[in-house]
Amino acid sequence: MKKIIAIVVAFVVVIGGVIGFGMMKKTGNKTANIVKIGGVFDTSGNVSAYGQAEQKGANFAVKHINAAGGVKVDGKTYKFKMVNKDSKSDNTEAASVTTNLINNNQVNAIVGPVVTSAVQAAIPSATKGKTPVISPTAGADSITVQKNGTVQPYIFRAQFKNSYLGTKMAKFATDTIKARNVIVFQDNSSDYGTGITAAFKKAYTGNIVETDSYQAGDTDFQAMLTKIKNKKFDAIVINGYYTEAGAILKQARDMGIAVPVIGPDGLGDPKLAEIAGNKNTSNVYYAAHFSTKALSTDAAKTFVKSYRKDYQQEPSQFTALSYDAVYMIKQAIEDEKSIDKAKITAGLAKIKNFEGTTGKMTMDKFHNPKKSIVMVGVQNGKDTTATVVK
């Protein structure tokens, strides 16, 4: 009986403690002079290659902003601070991390998540927490649109939307490459691959000889390539990321398939040529936000230069997009003269002629940046041409 009494007493004490603690707790003041940016990046798990690149880009941007004196609002100077949390390539975790950043870390805005499905999972938390979320690389058209057709108020992206990419790639294939018959390979494990393929198919006027799928993580594409080898086609479209595209490119060239290869911005990483080999990375065209060959904006020039200096390597599209996402938040703060979450949200929606590393962009009414696509041509592993697709 003693034990029972002890437990009841303990329980009452705990509840009392909780109540007491709750009464004493005051809403703490936010740390002054700091703009906190939450980073939801997959730094572990199967998309960690992209997550780590984007985290690097965001941190790099914050470093630059602070080195340049932070952001001035009404005579007050704010420094930026990244609060990065790992979402381990898991959608549930992305939702949980977003909630954590909004409620416990009290961030002013969030950069991330990396992929479409993780952004979808983060939408409810962002909406409940009334916090702007800007995803560097999520492509699905649907993520910035609510079910009733109005805009998703707190979700933004720095990336092209998939349908835009697919359409422009189709135009490029017809107009510039003059391809009448194409083969399409798609990464079937992400919306990025299937979404672009769907848009490409819709917009392409030529003949699609064959569509084949692969999974992220696949390394062997012999069967897929052998199957199409003897068919008649003028170009191959690879809708996926550089990791698999590099391997496809190598194996295709080894097999003697020399036709042009067209891909979305997922191919825009220096690793593409490393994986495929410089010799094999010829006659490749990918949709880019910027090209180290033809830098469109001043921001891009400074970015590429200082990135090379700091990391001794070429930046990828992933790093650049994430870098831009942070700068877009800075722009929104300057435009609205406030670091308030609602103001940043409003500011992001009104971004106009913003000069980022990935081009000059204006937010459309569905929070997609309007910027021109540059189709970069690669010969011998080096960017050689840059064609703007109107």
Partner: protein, 324 residues
């Protein structure tokens, strides 16, 4: 029902009530914010799935690596039904539909494959789970790799807590029923059980189907709580996550499963800040726990209120009593 039994049942009920009051009070005074709530709900969902898997692995001794597939069925059933019927009734119906569908699939899969032993069964269930995921990824209605989002939310911690308690009650009572005794007999010695006239396949299938149903309910809850589903949520790694909860808690110990689900949920909160070091820490924790407690935190024994409150003296740890 004898008097002692009522006493134990009451004390468990009181404990549950205490936890409910504690959570209520803590939310009221803002000690548990939205993030704490998310964590609690996710722990509860993993718990329901893990209790189901413990029934399959712990009680009937069948090594299944396919739990994610059944969670996927439940999740997509809820996602599809609730998006077209966005009411609480739609949600309840969707949970039932998911559970029944998952049960049927488990039945179809279970009857032939549960003849397989050990690792062969593991591979077969892994295969089934992957097949389910690949089908979902390619079907039009499930909207491919992007999955479904903007699913209406009907799940809060009360719902998950209630269903969690309910699933524990069902499993614990099943284990103590004649059916449960038969299931455990099959685990402990299949041949002996068979020679006593127990239809081993039947009992294995019962455990397997019930496990699948609980997995589907966990999946449905998650779909409505996170408000989005995608095929990537239900890979082999998801099955492993649930498996780890079961093994770490002690195979066959329901209270062990509860404890580990909570502990791992809290560990996850801490590890979010570790960036790419996160999984390294997790891996080390996993290895160390296994090296020092190979039988899991509680082994096969259960945390017993009866012993804690009503027994005096004696050695509490040795017993394997499943009473109270």
């Amino acid at each position: 029902m004898d008097k002692a039994h009522i006493k134990y049942t009451l004390s468990w009920a009181t404990l549950t009530l205490m936890i409910i009051i504690l959570i209520f009070v803590m939310t009221m005074f803002g000690i548990i914010g939205p993030y704490g709530m998310t964590t609690i709900v996710l722990i509860g969902i993993n718990l329901i799935a893990a209790v189901g898997l413990n029934l399959v692995i712990g009680m009937s001794g069948q090594f299944s690596l396919g739990h994610a597939g059944f969670m996927a069925i439940g999740a997509y059933a809820t996602a599809l039904i609730v998006t077209s019927v966005p009411t609480i009734f739609g949600f309840i119906i969707s949970l039932f539909v998911g559970a029944i569908l998952s049960g049927i699939v488990a039945l179809i899969v279970g009857i032939p494959t549960l003849r397989l032993r050990g690792d062969y069964l593991a591979i077969a269930t892994l295969g089934v789970s992957e097949i389910i995921r690949i089908l979902i990824m390619n079907f039009k209605i499930t909207r491919g790799p992007a999955g479904i989002f903007a699913i209406p939310a009907f799940v809060n911690w009360q719902v998950v807590f209630g269903l969690g308690v309910l699933s524990i009650i069902i499993v614990v009572n099943l284990v103590r029923s004649p059916t449960g005794r038969a299931i455990i007999a099959v685990r402990d010695n299949e041949i002996a059980a068979e020679s006593l006239g127990i239809n081993t396949t039947k009992y294995k299938v019962i455990a397997f189907v019930l496990g699948a149903i609980l997995a589907a309910i966990a999946g449905g809850l998650r779909a409505s709580f996170i408000q989005s589903v995608s095929p990537q949520d239900f890979t082999f790694m998801q099955s492993i996550t649930i498996l780890i909860i079961v093994v770490l808690g002690g195979i066959g110990s329901i209270s062990g499963t509860v404890l580990t689900a909570v502990a791992l949920g809290i560990l996850d909160v801490v590890l979010q800040n570790f960036g790419s070091l996160r999984m390294v820490v997790y891996a080390v924790v996993l290895i160390i726990v296994m090296l020092f407690r190979p039988q899991g935190l509680l082994g096969r024994s259960e945390f017993s209120l009866k012993k804690m409150l009503f027994d005096s003296g004696g050695d509490h740890d040795k017993g394997r009593s499943k009473d109270a």
